[in-house]
Subunit: 338 residues, 2 copies
């Protein structure tokens, strides 16, 4: 069903698109559909379908720092929806100002739904499962499942919102709290001028951006940066050995040494780069990727051209009304900053 | 001008109000006007008048963590607009997880415009001046003026927003950055059912809330908790001596030992209580205030009644669309988490 929707979207654009757009699609690049209903189908969870009530609840949970041990860290702290879905620091900072022990950089939550797997080592299959991790991780939100469940169930505002989302019989537990956060994250997709271009609008990108796209394809960047996310699959990555920044952190990828390819959407908003945040400029990131992943030299001029293309990947963010969170009660667990 | 607007609002409500509403007004309690234009007049800064462009810019700055040294702490971190304008912890936590050295609790930013002075020791006259403090304070956002100005001026999105707000000739400096944050904070007012009651809607509060208001007035709470803010003036406060929690923190008030009276608006959202956050329940706060400030005993039943009244002070928050913050550039200062 979803596949056929995507294919029909592609079929339309194939007729309309320029030859460069066709070349891009042949290289595996897929647009975010412009039709809102198709988009929602594409990102939906068949086992827990998106509704407005669930999204509204998931948004509240995403922004609520009280599910962390300290009461100070929310999902939005590291995946800030106002700054490209990231925190802008090299290694994530969590409870008691602890840096990520493996020196891992917070990936953007925008368009994360389009990834094949979640986390840099791809250990979780979807956003619902992913959301279970950082809340409990000691160097991140440092909570326990009990803290999270007790916090949420102590507030009538949350209990009502769960009933509204899942029916009066809902049992509020850690799994459906985190699943609802994941569901909210599914709608965080950002259609861009690049998508409009792939869908047939020949004027959507500037000439410079088109040239950059051509270099991007010709150099072979689409080997890994492909699909809707321009990334999101697990790939061999030269973490050690010839990787110039291999000594930053002890991350080794998954059991096969594979690392998740980050999305390039909104990449000009999500510095610093790579899994360890060791590279601060796009130019350096592009050149380094050519060197260690493609085994070729990308000149400064080519890198600049690719960087120009990346501007077309800056997408329109969903409008988020900042949520008013439910009032605590006497039984709400107290924050613990220690 | 402003005074006459308030008086005319009061004149209308005097005719309509119940005798309890009259009693409340006689005790110095003043409603937030229901008319949006009057409200804006009331909170405006005559020297830097509110416009939509300034408010939009001020909102961006309020939510932008990049003005802090670490890039991780924004005004909204401690004055979270989703949780009553506070952080919920006893003493504010800032840069490198440093607790406020005087063990001071973050006051709510909602309705702060109605206070006579800002900070617990009342050292600043208005929100514009107040906003200059925490950004530079080492245990809070730990920035320098240079960091803030360089950060903002490095992003074309901000420069454009300043021009839109203040004209093409605007010189972006620390003073107008913080003044714009203060201006945004001026509109963070929360009209409540209590205001509707004072303005003549006899059904706006429940019978229990009306009874609580009566106890509140009869006990003399309005001696300090008065005006539009139900607080906000500098008063003698038993920080030392008979104050049960006097050993929490070394805060001594202003040079005359006076302490700012916190607003009671949205008080059921802003635990823990008092300048040092040492009291976690409203009941205990009410009883303790009777004991040390009014020199009388407030029974558990009376405290519960007053607490019921406080529910009517929970106000409607302004709708805030979460801002998309300007993209950084190569010259944007890098975050420093150390």
């Amino acid at each position: 069903m979803i596949k056929s929707l995507v294919l029909s979207t592609l079929a339309v654009s194939l007729v309309m698109g320029s030859s460069l757009a066709k070349q891009a699609r042949d290289a595996g690049l897929i647009p975010i559909p412009s039709d809102k209903l198709i988009m929602r189908k594409l990102v939906d969870n068949p086992k827990n379908k998106i509704t407005n009530a669930k999204i509204e609840l998931g948004k509240m949970l995403f922004f609520d720092p009280r599910i962390s041990k300290s009461g100070l860290i929310s999902c939005n702290t590291c995946h800030n929806l106002g700054t490209g879905g990231v925190d802008g620091v090299a290694a994530a900072i969590g409870h008691k100002w602890t840096a990520n022990p493996h020196h891992l950089n917070s990936p953007t939550v925008y368009n994360a739904v389009f990834a094949d797997a979640q986390f840099w080592d791809g250990r979780d299959p979807d956003l619902e499962k992913q959301a279970q991790g950082p809340i409990l991780a000691a160097p991140e939100m440092a909570a326990t499942k009990e803290h999270v469940v007790n916090t949420i169930t102590s507030m009538p505002g949350y209990v009502d919102a769960f009933k509204k989302a899942y029916g009066d019989d809902v049992k509020i537990n850690y799994e459906n709290i985190t699943a609802t956060i994941g569901l909210f994250e599914r709608i965080l997709v950002t259609p861009s001028r690049f998508d409009a271009f792939l869908l047939g609008n020949k004027k959507a990108m500037s000439k410079g951006e088109e040239e950059g796209l051509k270099v991007f394809i010709d150099k072979g960047c689409t080997t890994c940066h492909t699909g809707i996310a321009l990334g999101g699959s697990m790939q061999a990555f030269a973490i050690t050995g010839q990787y110039k920044y291999a000594d930053v952190g002890d991350f080794k990828g998954d059991k096969n040494g594979l690392v998740k390819v980050p999305t390039l959407r909104n990449i000009n908003e999500t510095a610093p780069y790579f899994h360890n945040g060791a590279v601060t400029t796009l130019k350096e990131a592009i050149v380094e990727m050519g060197r260690i992943q493609l085994g070729l030299e990308i000149t400064d001029k080519e890198a600049a051209s690719i960087e120009t293309f990346f501007q077309a990947l800056e997408g329109k963010k969903p409008k988020i009304v900042y949520p008013q969170l439910p009032n605590p009660t006497a039984s709400t667990p107290k924050p613990d900053v220690n």
